[in-house]
Amino acid sequence: MLETLQLMGQGFISALTWMNLLAMAGGVALGIIIGCLPGLSAAMGVALMLPLTFSMPADTGLIVLGAIYCGAIFGGSISAILIHTPGTPASAATAIEGYQMTLQGKAGKALATACWSSFWGGLLSCISLYFFAPLLAQLALKFMSAEKFWLGIFGLTIIAGVSSKSIVKGLMSGALGLIISTIGLDPIDGTKRFMFGQAFLAEGINTTCALIGLFSMSQVFILAEKEIKARAKAAKFTDKITLTRAERKKIRPTIVRSWIMGNIIGILPGAGASIACFLGYNSAKQFSKTKEEFGHGAIEGVAGSEAANNAVTGGSLIPMLTLGIPGESVTAVLMGGLIIQGLTPGPELFTKHAAMTYTFFAGFVLVQFFMLAIGTLGCRGFAQISRLSDAILIPCVTVLCVIGSYAIHRNMSDVVVMIIFGVLGYLMRKFDLNTAAVVLALILGPISEKGLRGALRVSDGDIGCLFQSPVSWVLIILSIVGIFSPFIMDKFERKVAGDESVDQAVQDETLS
């Protein structure tokens, strides 16, 4: 215990260097810009900025990515409030009350609420990061081949289920990802699979390339095919971006509720910030003493949604850091950043690399303060950026995609892979398939394969070895729940928010 406290303290000391503070401020600002641009999601933003962190020290690199993540999730609320277009799907519920407030000339108040609740949501979510992550990492030591197999299966089913409109399409996307994950040297015998004599494929398809293609490049194709229209002008507002003491007190219970819900949703793989914001909004409405305000600009609605989506951030890091299972697309990108730094997710992050990990945690805490400051002071400026025309956005993102994928190995073959995945992502989205499931299957496929074949190897082909430990059984049950989750989620969500907004959120989920 004392040792952990010491590590926590040292984390703060090493996070407080000029380099790291600069990284936090820059990352948050960049994240807010990405977040408030409709069309650029948090995952895209982190994927595009990933190559920038290659040459940074591991802790600084991760802090930048974490800062972009938090910034983008908050940034989405700016355009949601001012132009009634959520900058990221995670702010879809914020638009409901936020825009009403704007129409009443209370945009400043709405922005202040969003900023204040995002800050608390993010800050409180760090508590779970500090407490659960090392515990779960201990558990990870008990995960042998059979458990790793079920862990992979669990991740796949729940992701394919939760984040897709139909299970069939979700599972199809996951299966496609699994097929792609077989490219390269096979993990058990070292046989070359689907490499067609290309040595660069020996280590499999590079996940970072694949996700830049699937998330960012495909978005460029989608944006480019639409007629470019000027966005609605951001509403001018004159009121101050502050909250009164009474207002802060009013939203306090809402923030706490949203934090708990958002945090749990974050830890569970599959359900991301876009679902959390609706749940947060709904509970704010249910528990409110002034229900009649809802629909006419209730600050509790904005607070509920924004605290919940930022509470997801800290929670979602836990399964990624400890088990190597990214719960949704942003953490999949973050995991890419971790691996590029030569770090393997798992218990070693809390033993051998504990100093780095706790610096990152401390950075994540400090990032929330930067978000509060930059968010409050810079709202007006960011509001203007949210109107940036697609005509400018498209070429910029394309350039970043090409540079980003080239930068991984400084090899043109990665750029080709990225473009192939861009086209694939475009087609998948046209057919309503789930691009996030492909990326996650690409990461989880080898884990499951190695686990299954390893377990069978040790047991000499006896399938029974997969059903022996209690951990295996827990994961099997969770996988079955995952398969049926679309039915459950569907019912749940329709109850939670009006039908049309759910459809929109589910559709956008594939992007987030």
Binding site: L52, A58, M144, A199, F200, E203, G342, S389, V458, D460
Partner: protein, 342 residues
């Protein structure tokens, strides 16, 4: 509004350039202050080995076939930083990873043999890449300069596993029961070690490939594997695993209580991994002699030795290194026949 667009466009350009600049950064000088290097170069010339008749006339590129931050990259950067004094030029590390190292080694083999490009070769991974057909090169496409780091393999068990007090206990148990040994990948270095040990002791086991050494050790600690083979540096500072024997011809200085496999009557050759410096084939003898001398002086430099305290620097001259590469190649090729179980 137009001004703002222009500003944002400019911002995007800056980011784009940053991305280029940043990725080029690992390739930049390993020395803390690059700008000082050219100015000091004439003065430093005297420190460089003289009378070989050749010296680089510009920055030297040192190719590392793994990504920045990898074990080889870390040790290469320390070597490069202190070698600049003796080479008299900036040494630029270029990380060319992918293809299990083969992409980087292809690049060294294809480089102009003018002495301006040299690189790190990792044994036995390099040899495996040839045997597996990942690279189109052979050992003849490289000219050895020197050896830099050697890591010896060890046979490991859990520290609290009271079944195996000595290596003989493990062999006796393994002959009666089927044991599981985790490895860092199919036919990777630690798998080769496990197989060489099992063959020499005359027992069969089940190998469990894990892809990397961290997972290999987790598998051992979790009880799924009974024993495994890993290198000295992998277990530095760990108390949860115990070494039973070393793959060496004599006992290791850092662990004098651990017997060698040879003295117990098992595999009696050295086995482990080596990182050596090579040039593309076709470089002149003067170039080889120049770098051989420069790196020898570096590896004797007290400042270098202080910075390199965490790993086992093991200088070998060009001839010995060439012999080592050849020996490892023949050994790796010999594994193809009758070494592995079917």
């Amino acid at each position: 509004m137009k001004k703002l667009f222009a500003l944002i466009l400019a911002l995007c350009m800056v980011f784009a350039l940053c991305a280029c600049g940043q990725t080029a950064a690992p390739a930049e000088s390993a020395a803390p202050a690059e700008s000082e290097a050219p100015a000091e170069a004439p003065a430093e010339e005297s420190a460089a080995p003289e009378a070989t008749g050749w010296a680089p006339d510009g920055p030297v590129t040192l190719v590392v076939a793994y990504k920045a931050g990898n074990g080889t990259d870390v040790t290469a950067r320390i070597l490069a930083q202190y070698a600049e004094k003796y080479v008299g030029q900036t040494i630029v590390i270029e990380n060319v990873d992918g293809g299990s190292g083969s992409i980087g080694w292809s690049q060294i083999a294809a480089a102009e043999p003018d002495g301006m490009t040299i690189g790190f070769m990792n044994l036995p991974n390099f040899n495996s890449s040839i045997v597996k057909g990942l690279g189109t090169y052979t050992t003849d496409d490289f000219a050895a300069i020197c050896n830099h780091v050697t890591e010896t393999s060890l046979v490991l068990v859990r520290a609290d596993d009271d079944r195996f007090a000595t290596i003989d206990d493990l062999v006796a148990y393994a002959k009666e029961n089927n044991t599981v040994a985790s490895t860092n990948g199919a036919q990777a270095s630690n798998h080769i070690g496990a197989q060489a040990f099992a063959n020499s002791a005359g027992f069969k086991y089940t190998d469990l490939p894990q892809g990397n050494t961290a997972d290999e050790l987790t598998s051992l600690l979790g009880g799924e594997a009974d024993w495994c083979v890993a290198k000295v540096a992998d277990i530095a500072g760990r108390t949860d695993v115990r070494a039973l024997a070393a793959f060496s011809t004599e006992r290791l200085a850092e662990m004098p209580d651990v017997p060698t496999l040879g003295e117990k009557g098992y595999y009696d050759q050295w086995l482990g991994s080596s990182r050596c410096v090579v040039a593309p084939a076709g470089v002149s003898d003067e170039v080889i002699a120049f770098y051989e001398e420069a790196f020898r002086l570096t590896m004797e430099d007290p400042e270098y030795l202080e910075a390199a305290a965490s790993f086992a620097t093991d200088y070998k001259n060009a001839a010995d290194t060439a012999a080592l590469i050849q020996q490892q190649q023949e050994f790796t090729e010999s594994l193809a026949e009758g070494f592995w179980y079917e």
